[in-house]
């Protein structure tokens, strides 16, 4: 524990130095902090430099979870600040700040589940539902809205097929991911939108496909 605290103090000091250098000299120094933080997390979780026992790991995981919640609140604050400052709908990057940690956390939790097929369906239902809701809320019950909601219905179809055959469902999941990436996501006008679409369309399908494939090989 003592060693872990020393390593943590050194890492945080270095991160602080990079941030201060970023403020004083050039924003490029912030990249140093961005590189150091995941290195610290990986050393603590998997490294042999600092031996962490099970309680220390549980403390780390709790700290990570509460930090995530705090980060999301902070990013919602940043989002709202931008909205009140400009009076307009904030740029996609502000949405990305909120979506990215939430989606990543959710997918990591589900990916570690033992009951892979259930988690794969859960991913498909949640993201399919989000896309249907988004289409209907933004476009209403118009032809355009119904057409847009087809993206979400695709997710639900893949989930439905998994009740019959997980291997076909896995294949469809990957196929649908490729289709969306090739025809929808890469045609996105700006890179921020591209990332949002990949996180909420492509990645969930790739992960659910992997989970279904794992189940087919004896995951459940």
């Amino acid at each position: 524990m003592k060693k872990r605290k020393i390593v943590l103090s050194i890492f945080l000091s270095l991160v602080a130095v990079f941030i201060i250098l970023g403020l004083l000299l050039s924003p490029a120094y912030v990249i140093g902090a961005a590189i150091l933080l995941p290195i610290y997390a990986l050393i603590i979780e998997y490294g042999r430099i600092v031996e962490t026992d099970e309680w220390e790991k549980s403390v780390n995981h709790k700290a990570g979870f509460y930090s995530l919640i705090f980060t999301i609140f902070l990013q919602i604050g940043v989002f709202l600040k931008r909205f009140f400052e400009t009076g307009n709908n904030p740029e996609p990057v502000y949405y990305l700040l909120i979506i990215f940690p939430v989606v990543l956390y959710y997918l990591i939790v589900l990916f570690q589940g033992v009951f892979s097929v259930k988690n794969a369906r859960m991913i498909l239902y949640v993201f399919g539902g989000i896309w249907i809701l988004f289409a209907l809320l933004s476009e209403g019950f118009t032809i355009g809205g119904l057409m847009q909601s087809l993206f979400g219905i695709g997710f639900l179809i893949v989930a439905g097929v998994s009740y019959g055959s997980t291997i076909i469902s896995a294949f469809l999941s990957f196929l649908y991911a490729v289709f969306l990436i090739v025809f929808v996501i890469v045609n996105s006008k700006n890179p921020e939108n591209l990332l949002i679409l990949f996180l909420t369309m492509g990645l969930p399908l790739i992960i659910s496909g992997t989970l279904l494939l794992k189940t087919e090989k004896g995951g459940e």
Partner: protein
């Protein structure tokens, strides 16, 4: 809820928290957290603790039904 008598066993065997931690290969903080009921150890650690005191896991750890 899991209750434990780890402190009783440790004192009976005249061990400090540091010594017990060393015997089972964890940090002293882990032993403190278990004794205070703040942390439930893994099955692996529970068995290791039981072996140190030459007893069973159930003798050290008990499940108290919540009302």
């Amino acid at each position: 809820m899991v209750k434990n008598r780890l402190k009783v066993f440790r004192v009976m065997k005249d061990l400090t928290q540091e010594e017990l931690a060393e015997l089972v290969g964890v940090s002293r903080q882990t032993i403190i957290a278990i004794e205070k009921g703040k942390y439930n150890p893994s099955v692996y650690l529970a068995i290791k603790l039981a072996r140190v005191f030459d007893t069973t896991v159930e003798e050290i750890f008990t499940i108290e039904e919540e009302k």
